[in-house]
């Protein structure tokens, strides 16, 4: 384990089912995230990204391995102590923003502070400061249904910071945002690492987030793969393994790799059309 790691994961494995039905969602994953670092975890659907994120956040018990944050191994921590650890050491940013609809923006942020043990005026002050930092000083008492998608996600980020956590875990933070809002949220996440020295782990399909990441990890079949050794599907842009076991196509001596046979067939049709002489 790296001594300066904000989050250290060692030989993390999660299997579901038993016997013939046993499925390994995450296999022997190692990961160190240092303060100030943004790690982007990408991968196809069903690759184990969400399972990994849930384990990192103490919401899912690993089958084996360790997850160490602030000197505590989450995997070995009794279930009843996990809520307090989550409240004190993690900030969560969700795909659907997940603000409590009955509370206004400030109360949503204050609630997270309350859960971390900060109450009353200090919690109120902290909430106000964070929302001001997110450029939402004029939206403190607006309910989620009165906010735009970008504003909701900024409130969610403020909430994730309410407990001053060393680690931010973000699940598809830009998925429900237009490109402008997505860029803004990406910039904010980067600033959390640069300005606050927080470790930021993002799980996403959004390739735009590669621009703010210090490291991009590709998770497939439950294990990390070297992204540099991967090709990009020319149709959907997804990173795919350069293996002849995957759908691929040889065009003029160049081998193209695809995420699916659908993308491969579409590419084949498109290139055949372009190659056909005019009038045919």
């Amino acid at each position: 384990m790296n001594t300066v790691s904000a989050l250290a994961v060692s030989q993390l494995t999660k299997t579901f089912g038993t016997g013939d039905l046993e499925v390994a969602a995450v296999r022997s994953v190692d990961l160190d995230v240092t303060p100030g670092e943004v790690v982007l975890i990408m991968g196809p659907s069903g690759s184990g990204k969400t399972t990994l994120l849930l384990m990192l956040g103490g919401m899912l018990r690993p089958t084996s391995g360790s997850i160490t944050v602030a000197g505590t191994d989450l995997a070995a921590t009794p279930e009843r102590r996990l809520p307090k650890l989550r409240a004190q050491h993690f900030g969560f940013v969700f795909q659907d923003f997940n603000l409590l609809s009955a509370l206004d923006a400030l109360e949503n942020v204050e609630l997270a502070a309350n859960l971390a043990g900060v109450h009353g005026a200090p919690a109120h002050r902290r909430g106000t400061e964070l929302l001001e930092r997110m450029g939402l000083a004029h939206r403190l008492h607006h309910r989620p249904d009165q906010l735009s998608g970008g504003e909701k996600q900024r409130v969610a980020i403020a909430r994730a910071l309410a407990n001053d956590p060393p680690v931010i875990l973000a699940d598809e933070p830009t998925a429900n945002l237009d490109s402008g809002m997505g860029r803004e949220v990406a910039r904010v996440l980067r600033s959390l690492a640069d300005d606050d020295r927080r470790a930021v782990v993002i799980v996403s399909h959004d390739t735009r987030l590669r621009d703010i990441a210090d490291r991009v990890l590709w998770l497939e079949d439950g294990t990390f793969r070297e992204l540099d050794a991967m090709a990009h599907d020319p149709i959907c842009g997804m990173a795919v393994e350069t293996s002849l076991d995957h759908p691929h196509l040889d065009r003029d001596g160049t081998i193209w790799y695809f995420c699916s046979t659908g993308c491969r067939d579409e590419y084949a049709a498109r290139t055949a059309e372009e190659a056909a002489p005019p009038g045919t």
Binding site: P83, K84, R86, E110, L111, A112, L115, G120
Partner: protein, 370 residues
Amino acid sequence: MFGRVPVARRMLFAERRRAALAVTGVAVALLLVFVLDGIFAGAIEQVTAYIRTSHADAIVSQQSVRTMHMSNSALAPSDTSRVRAVPEVAWVAPIRYATGIVVTPNDRQLAYVIGYQPGRRGGPHSLVEGREPRDGEAVIDRVAADGLGVRIGGRVQVLGRPFRVAGLSSGTTSITNTIVFITYRDFGRVRGSAVSYIFVGARPGTSPDALRDALAAAVPDSTVQTRSEFVRREASIVRDMSADTMQIMTFVALVIALAVIALLLFTTTLAHIRDYGIVKAIGGSPSQLARSVLVQALWAVALALALAVLLALGLASLINRFSDNIAIVIEPASVVRVAVGASVVAAIGALLPVWRIARVDPAAAFRSAA
């Protein structure tokens, strides 16, 4: 309840119409308990009114007879003079008493018939019209007179004998019967010379308890009680007679309240089940979430209780104004009893939502709501 942010209250009142309807439903159920309690308390007040307003410091009755209601008392003729001879006694008023029926050509009503000596204690507390009876005359309650369709100068039959109505009293008709006053002599002529009860006043400086003890020593073959003891016994007889009915009705009302509270809490919980998952994900513990549901339950009960008390007071005021023989008395003790019962009901109603929330997976927050 998560410290300062009132999450429970916000969730409960997020859907105001649902909360208002449910609170009203609980309030109506609690109102039923208040009204039953109020009628019961009113009935006790009516039934004990004659004794309470008698000014007697002690009451002597036949041995082992401790009430007038549902009782028959007969004292030895010599007992009155034995009582009068006790040094602590200031005044003595023997009365004769029987249960009977007061009859007019139009109607009839169950009555307690009291024979007393006009001009002395033991008669009607308040005469609102006419005068005390002479031989051959009766004083009946104003409310009973209205019901029987009789006025002063009218004729009624009491204990099978005709009497002319000489006066109208007030405060002596209850939900079940009325009191008719005739002269001590008339009563004796109809039912014999036995004395039923002796009302006794204490000399200045003598407490009711001391008077009771002195009388008990002087008339050992009788029962002597202070006025408050006698009232308590009368009340307990009424209470014992109605207890089963009251308990069943109260139980039914509380079950209705329980059903409404449970429904409100469960629907509120289901409406916010994802929110609970989110709170769990960001560090809310199961006990904090359970407290949140309990706070919602207490809010619902507190509001329903306040509304029910207001409605009960309003209803009592209306009924007391427009009905002469039904009295509703909302006592603070009744409010406390209902509050405790409703709190227990609220706690029970919260059990299912708490159990449901305990099963919420915090990982659900990571699943798309779409």
